[in-house]
């Protein structure tokens, strides 16, 4: 029980020492963000333009949405490597549905199903992960490795490895639409963050989630439905990954099962960790994940805009992940 309250204090009510630490940690992310912004303003040509903002928001949204889900999973001391594969799977299903005979005959119903079925399948992937992890006690890394590889395989089998191109303005709205002049998916990411934040801080599920991550045994002994909570976390993560997969497909007006969500698990883990998630569990800084996603996106953009090759950017990303985790480990000790 004491652990339970401790974890909730970390997240909720401010306490002297903890709030100082938290302030530092939050500022750490923001300081990093400000440095990147300043660097770009000085050195990157055409950085301070609406177009740049636009591009970055439309790209950061998918990272942010997946990172929110990853944060929820990491809060249970778990990890989900299958997010990218789930994106590919959801992204492959949608065009298959609205381009099918049925989908073209009944466009409206077809569109609804083209959203509903991929997201349902994504949620089922999360259920698969969650059940294996909580009922069979298989490590999350190993469990999610199964879908990490075969999820994308299934997506490629479904599409026969072909690029599916389409023209469907109503579907593409989620990737190309604008609200108040800014990309739709940016708003969607914010909305989803608010919803998940509400779930984590204001519902019983959220309390249990942090308790399970803080100390699983204590949570179990105090009557928390540990298994259900873990399954819930993986379902949320997979569902959000499904949404991100659909957005990527909508942005491109094409679905490529080989590329959709490729390496997304790394971006999402990096964003979650940079945003303050502890790999040992017990914390779920949802808006931190958004901050982390923005930092990751800006690092990518900075490297790209300054002519650094993609391959070198991979190495840079690897170093960011290691550093972020290292700093957190050091703080914890």
């Amino acid at each position: 029980m004491s652990d339970n309250t401790m974890t909730s204090d970390k997240h909720g009510a401010p306490m002297n020492q903890q709030s100082v630490v938290r302030l530092l940690r939050n500022n750490g992310g923001i300081v990093a963000l400000l440095i990147i912004l300043a660097f770009n303003a000085l050195f990157t040509p055409n950085f301070l333009q609406v177009q740049t903002l636009f591009v970055n928001i439309s790209q950061v949204a998918t990272i942010a949405i997946v990172a929110i889900g990853m944060t929820v999973v990491i809060a249970t001391a778990g990890i989900d490597l299958s997010v990218g594969a789930v994106m590919a799977l959801a992204g492959a299903l949608a065009p298959l549905i609205f381009q099918s005979e049925f989908g073209t005959a009944y466009p409206v119903l077809g569109l609804i199903i083209a959203f509903a079925v991929p997201l349902l399948v994504a949620a089922l992937c999360g259920l698969f992960n969650g059940v294996l992890i909580s009922y069979l006690n298989v490590q999350p890394i190993i469990t999610t490795l199964i879908l990490f590889i075969s999820g994308r395989g299934i997506a490629q089998v479904l599409t026969n490895g072909n690029l599916q191109t389409f023209s469907n303005p109503s579907f593409s709205y989620i990737g190309t639409g604008k609200i108040l002049g800014l990309p739709f998916q940016g708003w969607l990411a914010l909305l989803l963050a608010c919803i998940v934040y509400w779930i984590v801080t204001r519902t019983i599920f959220g309390r249990y989630l942090l308790a399970v991550g803080g100390n699983e045994r204590a949570a179990k002994l105090s009557g928390a439905p540990v298994r259900t909570v873990k399954i819930g976390a993986y379902v949320i993560c997979a569902f959000l990954s499904g949404i991100a997969g659909l957005i990527v497909v909508a942005i491109n007006s094409a679905s490529d099962a080989a590329r959709n969500g490729n390496l997304m698990e790394l971006d999402a883990i990096a964003a979650a960790v940079v945003g303050g998630a502890l790999l040992q569990g017990g914390r779920a800084p949802i808006f931190g994940a958004i901050l982390g996603a923005v930092i990751i996106q800006l690092v990518k953009y900075t490297l790209l805009a300054n002519g650094v090759e993609d391959e070198v950017a991979l190495i840079a990303k690897a170093m960011i992940i290691v550093l972020a985790v290292y700093v957190q480990q050091a703080r914890k000790e």
């Binding site: 298989v138 990490f148 590889i149 075969s150 395989g153 089998v157 883990i269 991979l314 690897a318 985790v325």
Partner: protein, 330 residues
């Protein structure tokens, strides 16, 4: 300490029954293949099968040591891709330079993993995930994102293409030697025993004064070196350094290790059973290829990934059914 001995004995008996499963499955699948396909037992199939799977066997053995300590190495695939490029670049200097060069490059990545995990105390899967990324990036950078053709004039391609004493490919001979050496290390040296002890309980191993740090560093260096060797085989066997290869290899290796009865939480494992596991996984694909050839089924290359994941899934299901629960051991 009679109590501990009795406990260990029980474990080993259990271990044997777990390993028995993979040997039985292996023999059954071989018999099935022999009965069903004409060319299955032919020299060509056997040699090409062993040659191709020597890559996975060697990576699986390295992975087995890492998993026995309760760790994981997700970087093996891209490290192998990286070292295949290194070996291709070194191939003009001959096998005697390219082989150690490739292995050393792999060990270097293993050293990065060991440093991150031991000194920086970063969880193994994060550290090796980052190395996976770095090795992939590195391979693309040094190769300019091109496959690098090896020097056909030197003796480098002998390794993957010619046979030792006209019987077996060199690659499989080397893998067999390495496997036997590591088997002895695991079963008969204090280093090997420490590896298993760490997986049983790292804290207890520390308290008992075992050289935990040394053993942990060893397994990651070993896994890197094994991946390095696999990369050399890759370059030699296919005549090119391939920066984009290695995707999903870590999964194959993990599956092979687990099907060999090694507990994912560490503390239990066997080198021969891991080799059997790698052979079994390879044989599943071999049999599927034959079925494809007969036209009874038609599976595209994409099915390979699905089957690989499915195989791991089945293995995990079996392990949780037969074996002690992970909590009991962990």
């Amino acid at each position: 300490m009679p109590g501990t001995d009795a406990f260990d004995l029980r474990r080993y008996l259990r271990n044997d029954t777990r390993s028995a499963g993979v040997w039985i499955a292996l023999v059954a699948l071989i018999l099935f293949g022999l009965a069903r396909y004409e060319n299955f037992g032919g020299a060509y199939n056997i040699v090409s099968f062993l040659n191709y799977n020597s890559l996975f066997i060697i990576i699986s053995i390295g992975m087995c040591f890492v998993i026995m300590t309760g760790g994981i190495d997700l970087s093996v695939g891209s490290v192998a891709a990286f070292t295949s490029v290194v070996a291709a670049y070194l191939s003009p200097y001959g096998l005697e330079v390219a082989l150690p060069g490739g292995v050393l490059a792999g060990i270097a990545f293993g050293a990065i993993n060991a440093f991150c995990i031991i000194a920086m105390r970063i969880p193994p899967f994060i550290a090796t995930l980052a190395t996976m990324l770095a090795a992939k990036g590195g391979a693309l950078v040094i190769s300019g994102a091109q496959t690098i053709s090896v020097d056909w004039g030197s003796n480098f391609t002998k390794l993957g293409m010619e046979k030792a004493f006209n019987i077996l490919p060199w690659s499989i001979v080397i893998v067999a030697l390495v496997a036997v050496a590591l088997w002895i290390v695991l079963e008969h040296t204090s280093l090997g025993r420490t590896v298993l002890a760490i997986g049983g309980s790292e804290d207890a191993s520390n308290l008992m004064g075992l050289k935990v740090t040394r053993a942990k560093a060893f397994v990651y260096l070993l896994s890197g070196g094994c991946a390095g060797l696999a990369g050399v085989f890759l370059a030699s066997g296919f005549g090119a350094g391939q920066p984009l290869e290695g995707i999903g290899w870590e999964l194959s290796a993990i599956a092979s290790v687990v099907v060999g009865g090694t507990l994912l939480t560490g503390g239990l494992g066997s080198v021969p059973a891991t080799v059997a596991g790698a052979l079994l996984l390879g044989l599943v694909f071999n049999v599927l290829n034959f079925e494809n050839g007969r036209g009874t089924i038609s599976l595209s290359a994409y099915w390979q990934m699905v089957i690989r994941g499915g195989f791991l899934f089945v293995v995990i299901l079996l392990q949780t059914r037969i074996g002690p629960s992970q909590k009991e051991v962990g």
